[in-house]
């Protein structure tokens, strides 16, 4: 849908995505909803009619706008009651690839999401002959509330890639009994499993690309030699993906709605709520598979780039499933301590690059990645408790590592990291930050309670800042999950070593034990949510309010 006036209707419909007919929340009768096309400089009017049996609120993800237009019921506006129509109206002050979704309960999981593309007012920097939106989503047949309920009782309910007696035996063969028992003991002490990367995962979902299953094979057409822009948008509730197009180099040109200096890659990780636009230029008149494998390697979606409809190419095998070690989690590892191995007996060192069989010079280079950053006072003060499972010994700058299960592949493939992102334009606000706000990502996996600084949303008040104030926002991850943290209503300028060309992000994927900082200038007053975008995490409390107060004269 293109224009500056839109009518969106939310309905409860019957749908069949997985082979089983079930219910969905559709926007204008479809899942995903219609892709909205706005123009920078327009004032858009969007009438959202709620025909669902419950309250709703539609949120424009990554869009800079006045607070009551942001669409979070309870916090920013009263919500749209069943049968009501709410009119959103605001100026469009940016361009790029974004998305929109329901910010109420679990409605997003059941279909209220789609992409949002804003054409720039001036001449676009990026030239493409073809332009496609690629919406990645994790469809669920059942009720998300049942899933959350299951997780509250058994947090590894959906995990079918755990370590077993078999992997114990193969680890003993590989590392010896003593080392293996010691390694198992460390995990047992923390009541964790190194394969516990994401819950819920594969078995709970049917992975879709533009609403189509792998079998339906969404296809984007091209003529050989054309520049094709693919706007990858992860609208999933709880699934990160590793995206690749075997046979093609992807040039990452636009991230979270902002142009970046092109980075040629073979693969990139896209966490929930992120957008990455890539340019590919297929030279051959054959089919190429667009492959998005989930983070736990328990499912994938695929589409095809082809010169004609009906073509397909081979689907690549999964990469090895990530496993973590103690160092990944910010724990001190003793010399000689071993990491977990995969069922195929490859040593998998999770986030820390494998040091096995590596030259000294290479070791030096890799440990350079892993600069220990110490811990902010806020993090250091935290004690383990009901809402926090463990405390970190160290934190790390992990911006130049792609993340679990990919780090050991960096010598073999070009994989995107946050450190590669260089904004085309320098930042507008040159001021130094005058204060720092640190949030430690915390949680208790077994109890499935998630929060910040050891507290969930309902236990703590808002964080106050002043309009126009320049501040540094720091996240330290004291959990074993890679959380996508989203800040509404303002940009987070990631301090990734690119000087003034910091990438502007609306969501930051924070790896375990990572310590990341961003510069922020609030541009509109109001109660702005700051939360993990994993649906089952923020519904369990990983949510805060950043309250932007007016300037006092």
């Amino acid at each position: 849908m293109r224009g500056n006036r839109f009518d969106l209707r939310l309905d409860r419909i019957r749908i069949n995505k997985s082979g089983t007919e079930t219910w969905a929340n559709a926007i204008n009768g479809i899942v995903p909803g219609p892709v909205l096309n706005w123009r920078e400089g327009d004032v858009v009017t969007i009438n959202v009619t709620n025909n669902l049996p419950e309250m709703t609120g539609v949120h424009w993800h990554g869009i800079i706008l006045p607070n009551p237009m942001d669409g979070v019921p309870g916090l920013e506006f009263p919500g749209i009651m069943p049968g009501e129509t709410f009119t959103y109206r605001f100026p469009v002050v940016q361009s790029g690839t974004y998305w929109y979704h329901s910010h109420m309960g679990y409605q997003e999981q059941k279909g209220v999401y789609s992409a949002l593309v804003i054409d720039p007012a001036g001449t676009p920097l990026i030239h493409a002959d073809r332009d496609y939106v690629v919406v990645l989503s994790d469809w669920m047949d059942g009720s998300p509330l049942v899933v959350q309920n299951n997780l509250k009782h058994m947090s590894d309910y959906y995990k079918f890639n755990r370590r077993t007696l078999g992997t114990f035996i193969s680890d003993v063969e590989q590392s010896g009994l003593r080392a293996t028992v010691k390694e198992r003991w460390n995990w047992a002490d923390m009541r964790m499993d190194p394969s516990g990367l994401q819950e819920p995962t594969g078995p709970a979902f049917t992975y879709l690309m533009n609403g189509m299953t792998s079998a339906e094979n969404w296809t984007a057409l091209f003529q050989p030699g054309e520049r094709v822009r693919l706007r990858f948008t992860n609208t999933s509730a709880q699934s990160a993906y590793d995206v690749s197009i075997p046979g093609l180099t992807m040039n990452v040109v636009h991230v979270h709605g902002n142009d970046v200096v092109p980075v040629p890659v073979d693969q990139f990780r896209i966490n929930v709520a992120e957008t990455y636009d890539v340019i590919v230029q297929p030279r051959d008149g054959r089919a190429y598979t667009i492959f998005a494998q989930n983070f736990t390697r328990s499912g994938f979606s695929r589409g095809t780039l082809a010169p004609r409809p009906g073509m397909s190419a081979a689907i690549p095998p999964f990469d090895a499933a990530p496993m973590r070690n103690m160092a990944d989690m910010g724990m001190t590892m003793m010399p000689g301590e071993v990491a977990a191995s995969n069922p195929d007996r490859t040593r998998m060192d999770g986030i820390m690059p494998s040091m096995h069989g590596v030259t000294d010079a290479e070791k030096e280079r890799r440990t350079g990645y892993q600069e220990k950053l110490g811990l902010p006072a806020v993090t250091k003060a935290l004690k383990p408790g009901v809402e926090q499972q463990y405390v970190l010994d160290h934190s790390f700058d992990r911006l130049d590592l792609p993340g679990d299960g990919l780090n050991h592949l960096m010598d073999k493939r070009r994989i995107l990291t946050y450190a590669d992102l260089r904004s085309v334009h320098p930042g507008v606000d040159k001021r130094q930050p005058t204060k720092e706000i640190t949030l430690t990502l915390t949680g208790n996996m077994g109890r499935f309670i998630w929060g910040f600084n050891g507290q969930k949303f309902s236990e703590v008040g808002p964080i106050d800042v002043t309009l126009g104030e320049r501040f540094r926002l720091r996240f330290v991850n004291s959990t074993m999950m890679t959380h996508p943290i989203h800040l509404h209503g303002m940009w987070m300028e990631l301090e990734n070593g690119q000087g003034e060309h910091r990438p502007y992000l609306h969501t930051i994927s924070v790896q375990p034990a990572a310590n990341v900082s961003m510069l922020v200038t609030p541009v509109a007053t109001g109660q702005w949510p700051l939360h993990c975008h994993f649906l089952y995490h923020f519904e369990a409390g990983m949510f805060r309010t950043l309250r932007v107060l007016p300037k006092v004269a």
């Binding site: 920078e40 004032v43 800079i64 706008l65 006045p66 607070n67 019921p73 309870g74 916090l75 920013e76 506006f77 959103y88 109206r89 605001f90 100026p91 002050v93 940016q94 361009s95 309960g105 720039p120 001036g122 959350q148 309920n149 509250k152 009782h153 058994m154 309910y157 755990r162 077993t164 047992a188 002490d189 009541r191 383990p384 009901v386 926090q388 463990y390 507008v428 077994g446 109890r447 969930k456 949303f457 309902s458 008040g461 309009l467 126009g468 940009w491 200038t521 509109a524 007053t525 109001g526 109660q527 923020f538 519904e539 409390g541 949510f543 309010t545 309250r547 107060l549 007016p550 300037k551």
Partner: protein, 261 residues
């Protein structure tokens, strides 16, 4: 011109009422903060139901213990509540259809549960021994949680109004042989400070009930199993059981279903 530079200017302007007239005076361009919304974290209601009430019921044991004088054994629990406050119901016992439907070891508890640490909850409430023997009522105080190595453990102290005390412990572990085939050792003990002839119980360690169950998780909520159970009575309980002609040392094969909702 980069779009959001303009955006910054526009929105900074929006925060000032005079400038806002450039666009529209409608409420849509108000700042989103007024005296009312300044008061609380969620002016229109809580956006996140992170105190939601959940409910579960589950049978760790629901099994027929096969052999001479075979019987049905159950050990189930249910809870309802939010992260910090739960009501917990536990019930275990044996039903013997061959022996005029006699029920034994009936132990039913209603407890308030509160988490106190990363892995442990305290539970307090009442226990009622309700079966074919004399009925007894106890006050209960215990802990339940996840010990090192993912052992599920429970230990509960009981006190009755006539000065009897008792202790019950239970521990189990899930050993994953494959992703769905799980071997579960389980071990329960019962201790009493005083003899209670009405329930055939002597002082000291009364009995142990241990099992080794091999289950297959067809789904997480539907897992049939085969196993072997060993029950042994000790001391005064042993003597009383002998007098009644019961077994003090009993090994049985079992077939059952682990299920929950």
């Amino acid at each position: 011109m980069r779009g959001w530079i303009a955006g910054l200017a526009i929105l900074l302007a929006l925060a000032s009422p005079a400038e806002a007239q450039l666009f529209d005076k409608s409420k849509f361009f108000s700042s989103g903060l007024d005296s009312e919304t300044l008061q609380g974290a969620a002016p229109y209601g809580n956006p996140i139901p992170d105190n939601r009430v959940y409910i579960h019921g589950f049978f760790d044991q629901l099994e027929g213990r096969i052999g001479d004088g075979q019987y049905l054994r159950w050990d189930g629990q249910a809870w309802i509540g939010n992260d910090y406050n739960k009501l917990w119901l536990k019930s275990e016992g044996r039903y013997n259809p061959g022996n005029r439907g006699r029920m034994e070891d009936g132990d039913h508890e209603l407890l308030y549960d509160r988490p106190i640490s990363r892995y442990f909850d305290v539970q307090a409430g009442v226990r009622v021994d309700l079966d074919s023997s004399r009925t007894r009522t106890w006050a209960a105080l215990g802990i339940q949680g996840l010990a090192i190595g993912f052992w599920n453990v429970e230990a509960t102290l009981y006190a009755s109004d006539n000065g009897h005390y008792a202790l019950r412990t239970n521990a189990s572990y899930d050993l994953y042989l494959t992703q769905r085939l799980v071997l579960q050792p389980q071990f329960e003990t019962n201790w009493y400070t005083k003899e209670d002839r009405g329930r055939g119980i002597g002082a000291g360690l009364s009995d142990i009930d241990m099992g080794l169950r091999l289950r297959y998780d067809i789904t997480r909520k539907f897992a049939p199993y085969l196993g072997v159970a060993y029950q042994r009575r000790f001391g005064g309980t042993e003597s009383l059981t002998r007098q009644e002609g019961g077994k003090v040392n009993d090994v049985r094969f079992l077939v059952g279903l682990r299920t929950w909702f």
